[in-house]
C-alpha cells in the first residue's frame, strides 16, 4: 500500500500547479488556498500538503492570517487521526499560540490562542485513544461546537476513524464500550452505524450485546516466522571469485 504525503487524489489541477511552483510563496495565492480549505470542509475531503502551504503563507505574512481558516484547517486535521497531520500544522503556527500550554495562566490570551489550545486538547485525546473523553470534552463547551461547525460531518468523520481503529485491534467488542467511544448513546443508533457504515455484526445473548468485527489483516494477529530472503546478488562476490580463480 503506497502512501505519498505530497499527493492528494481530490486535489484540483490549479492547486497542484501552485504547489509545484514558486507561487506557493506568493501572498496573492492565499485566497485560493483559503477557498480550497472551505471546499475541503464542505466536500469532506482532506489535503494536508496544500493546507500546510497555506499555513506557511501565514507564517511568512502574519497580517494575512485568518483565525477561522486556521481553526478549520486544524479541525480538518483532527478527522484523519492517528496521523502527524495535526502536529505538522501546529509546527507552522506562531509560537505564541502555545498549543499545549497549561490553559488559564494568562488572562489576556486571545480568542485565537484559546481556540488553538482547545483543538490541541481534542487532538491529544484522539491521538491517545481516549475516545469517550474526547466526546465529553467536545460536548462540554459551545466553543468546541463553533470550532468544528464549518467542517461538514465532523462527528461522522471522527466516528468513522474511531471505528477503523477499533476494527484494527478488536475482533469482538462489548457494545457498551463501543457506545461510549462512538458517542452513540442508544442501542438503535449504534446498531445502525455498526451494521450500515461498518458492515459489522451485532450478537445479542441475554443482556449482553457484542459487536463482532470480521477478520481483517490487522486484527488477526497471526504468529509467523520470518525466514530470510536469499537472492542471487548476495553470492555475487563468491561467484566472481570462482571465475577469477579459474582464469
Amino acid at each position: 500500500m503506497g502512501v505519498t504525503f505530497d499527493k492528494c487524489e481530490t486535489r484540483p489541477a490549479h492547486i497542484e500547479a501552485i504547489l509545484n511552483g514558486l507561487d506557493r510563496y506568493n501572498p496573492e495565492t492565499t485566497t485560493v488556498f483559503q477557498d480550497y480549505v472551505s471546499q475541503q470542509c464542505e466536500e469532506r475531503t482532506f489535503d494536508c500538503y496544500a493546507n500546510l502551504a497555506l499555513l506557511k503563507l501565514y507564517q511568512f505574512n502574519p497580517h494575512l492570517l485568518q483565525p477561522e481558516v486556521v481553526t478549520n484547517v486544524l479541525a480538518k486535521a483532527l478527522t484523519v487521526f492517528p496521523s502527524p497531520a495535526f502536529s505538522l500544522c501546529l509546527s507552522l503556527l506562531p509560537a505564541h499560540t502555545q498549543p499545549f500550554a497549561e490553559a488559564q495562566n494568562t488572562s489576556q490570551t486571545s480568542d485565537f490562542v484559546e481556540s488553538v489550545q482547545k483543538l490541541a486538547r481534542l487532538s491529544t485525546l484522539l491521538e491517545s485513544a481516549q475516545y469517550a473523553q474526547f466526546w465529553s470534552t467536545l460536548n462540554s463547551d459551545d466553543l468546541y461546537a463553533d470550532l468544528v461547525a464549518d467542517v461538514a460531518g465532523f462527528e461522522e468523520l471522527v466516528r468513522i476513524r474511531i471505528a477503523i481503529e477499533v476494527g484494527k485491534t478488536f475482533r469482538q467488542i462489548d457494545a457498551d464500550v463501543l457506545e461510549a467511544w462512538l458517542d452513540l448513546r442508544n442501542g438503535e443508533a449504534l446498531e445502525k452505524f455498526v451494521t450500515e457504515v461498518c458492515n459489522w455484526e451485532i450478537e445479542k445473548s441475554g443482556s449482553s450485546v457484542v459487536v463482532k468485527v470480521p477478520t481483517n489483516k490487522e486484527n488477526e494477529a497471526r504468529s509467523e516466522v520470518k525466514s530470510e530472503r536469499v537472492g542471487i546478488e548476495q553470492f555475487g562476490r563468491v561467484l566472481r571469485r570462482g571465475f577469477e580463480q579459474a582464469a
Partner: protein, 476 residues
C-alpha cells in the same frame, strides 16, 4: 541614529561599494513590502566589475567566513548587504560570471554560512524582543524589518537553483542521460552547478528550521540519497543533509526512516577516520555527531528496532543509561526525552520580526516545536509497558492485566489501541523521500476478543546466508 547613518559612519563595515548609493538602497528598501522584497536582489547596488575587481576576492572569501561570535548588529546588517550584492552579481550580471573561487568547498561554505547567519540573526532578533532589555538594538531591528527577511533568503536559494537548472540536471542524471544537455549557459559551469546544488540542501535546512518538515523532504525529490550523490564529496554537506532529512522524518513520525538516515551517516563517519584529525569543521561535526546519537536514542525508544552493531555499541557508550530509561518509558522518562530533544534539535527560527512591544508573546520557536513533539511522546508513553507485559503471554485477560498495571480497564484499552496504531508506520521503499508504504514495525501483535487479548509474535528465522558467506570469504 538610524542604520543608514551608522553605515555611513563605518564605511569599512560595508561591502566597499559606494556608501551613498548603499544608503539610498537601504532607504528604499524600508518602504517596500513583499513584491519588492522578492526582487530585492535586482535593486541592490550592482558591483561595477571594473573598479571592484580587487575587492571581489576579499568579498568571496568573506562570504564563506563565519562572523565573529560577538559581531554587532551593524556587522550583521552589513554582512546581509554583502550577500545581497554578491548574489546579485552572480545571478544578474550580463550572462554567467567567471569567478575564481578561493577553494573547492567555497560553494558549500558560502551557502552554509549564509543560512547560518540568517538563522542566528532571526534567533538574536527574537531574543532581543523577548528579553526587552536592549532598547537601542530593539529600535534598530524595528527600523529594519526586511534585513535577513525570509523572502529574500528563499529568493536567493530558489534563484540559484533555477539559474543552474540543477533540478533538471539531476533529473536527467537519474534517467541516465547527460546533464549537460539541459544545463544551459549557467548550469554548465561548475560554480553555478555547485551553488545550485547546495542551495537545494540549503532549502532543506531552511524549511526544517521553519518547522515545515514535509516541504523540507519534498525539496530533495531530485537528489538521490546515496554515497554517489554530489553532496557526499563535501563532508559537511553530507553530514548536514542526513541530519536534516533524519530530523524531518522524525517529526513526521517516521522513526524507522529517521533511524536509517542517522545510522547511514554515523556509520560513514565512524569509518572515515581521516576527517577526525584536524580540520576546522571538526568541532561542528563532532557536535552534530552526538546530537544524532541522541536523536537515534529517542527514535529507538519510540520505535524499537535492531540497530547496526557499530551504532548500537556507540549508543550504549554515549547514552547507555539514558537509553535504558527512555526505553523503559513511563512518566519518569519524560524529562529525559525533552532534555535530549532540546539538545539535539535544530535551532528553530521564526521568520518574521517579533513583537518588540510585548516581550511575553515572543515564545522561543524551540519551545514551540519541543512542546509539539513532547505531546506525541506523552501519548505513547506507555507503549513499552504494554509491550513488556504482552511479551510474556499468548492470551491474557484485560481486567487482569489492568489489575497488574494498577490502571482502569478503560485506560488499558486506550493504551492497547495506541500501541497498535504506533506499531504501523510508513516506511520508504523507493521514489521520493515523502513516499512510503505502511508496514508493521513491531514483532509483537495482538487482537482483542472482548476482554481477552490474543498475543502473537513474529519470530525471525535463523540467518544463515550471512554467516555462510562470511566464513566462505574467510577460507576461499
Amino acid at each position: 541614529m538610524s542604520y543608514e547613518e551608522r553605515a555611513n559612519a563605518h564605511p569599512n563595515l560595508g561591502d566597499e561599494s559606494d556608501v551613498e548609493e548603499e544608503a539610498l538602497v537601504n532607504d528604499y528598501r524600508e518602504q517596500v513590502n513583499f513584491d519588492d522584497e522578492m526582487s530585492d536582489l535586482d535593486r541592490t547596488t550592482s558591483i561595477d566589475a571594473a573598479s571592484q575587481a580587487p575587492d571581489l576576492q576579499a568579498q568571496l572569501a568573506a562570504a564563506a567566513t563565519p562572523l565573529e561570535y560577538q559581531a554587532t548588529l551593524e556587522t550583521k546588517f552589513a554582512s546581509y548587504d554583502n550577500y545581497c550584492n554578491l548574489f546579485h552579481y552572480i545571478l544578474n550580471s550580463d550572462g554567467p560570471v567567471d569567478l575564481e573561487v578561493p577553494s573547492y568547498y567555497w560553494a558549500w561554505d558560502v551557502i552554509d554560512e549564509f543560512i547560518y547567519q540568517f538563522e542566528s540573526f532571526c534567533r538574536y532578533r527574537n531574543r532581543v524582543a523577548r528579553s526587552g532589555s536592549n532598547e537601542e538594538e530593539a529600535q534598530l531591528l524595528r527600523e529594519n524589518p526586511n534585513t535577513w527577511g525570509c523572502y529574500s533568503v528563499l529568493n536567493v536559494l530558489y534563484s540559484l537553483i533555477q539559474r543552474s537548472q540543477i533540478n533538471e540536471q539531476l533529473a536527467a542524471m537519474k534517467r541516465g542521460e547527460d546533464p549537460m544537455t539541459v544545463a544551459g549557459e549557467y548550469g554548465s559551469r561548475p560554480l553555478y552547478k555547485m551553488l545550485g546544488y547546495f542551495s537545494i540542501i540549503g532549502l532543506l535546512r531552511v524549511h526544517c528550521l521553519l518547522g515545515d518538515f514535509s516541504l523540507a523532504l519534498k525539496t530533495l525529490d531530485d537528489i538521490e540519497m546515496n554515497k554517489k550523490a554530489m553532496f557526499a564529496r563535501v563532508m559537511a554537506a553530507h553530514f548536514t543533509t542526513y541530519y536534516y532529512v533524519g530530523f524531518s522524518y522524525m517529526m513526521m513520525r517516521r522513526y524507522g526512516d529517521a533511524i536509517r538516515m542517522f545510522s547511514h551517516i554515523l556509520i560513514y563517519v565512524s569509518r572515515t577516520k581521516n576527517f577526525q584529525k584536524g580540520g576546522n569543521s571538526y568541532d561542528a561535526i563532532a557536535k552534530k555527531n552526538d546530537q544524532m546519537y541522541a536523536l537515534i536514542a529517542i527514535c529507538v525508544a519510540l520505535h524499537p528496532t535492531r540497530l547496526d552493531d557499530t551504532i548500537h555499541s556507540a549508543l550504549r557508550e554515549k547514552y547507555g543509561d539514558q537509553l535504558t530509561r527512555l526505553q523503559h518509558g513511563g512518566p519518569e522518562a519524560l524529562p529525559l526525552f525533552e532534555e535530549l530533544f532540546r539538545s539535539a534539535c535544530p535551532k528553530f527560527i521564526s521568520p518574521t520580526p517579533p513583537d518588540f512591544d510585548n516581550p511575553a508573546v515572543n515564545v522561543d520557536p524551540v519551545d514551540h516545536q519541543t512542546s509539539i513533539f513532547m505531546d506525541e511522546v506523552k501519548n505513547t508513553l506507555f507503549n513499552p509497558t504494554i509491550r513488556s507485559y504482552l511479551k510474556l503471554y499468548t492470551t491474557m485477560d484485560l481486567k487482569k492485566l489492568a489489575g497488574f498495571l494498577e490502571v482502569e480497564p478503560e485506560k488499558l484499552r486506550s493504551w492497547l489501541l495506541v500501541n497498535k496504531q504506533r506499531s504501523r508506520q510508513i516506511r520508504w521503499v523507493e521514489g521520493g523521500l515523502l513516499e512510503g508504504e505502511v508496514v508493521s514495525a513491531n514483532d509483537l501483535d495482538y487482537a482483542l476478543e472482548n476482554d481477552l487479548i490474543h498475543v502473537s509474535e513474529t519470530k525471525a528465522g535463523r540467518r544463515l546466508v550471512d554467516w555462510y558467506l562470511r566464513n566462505l570469504a574467510r577460507v576461499y
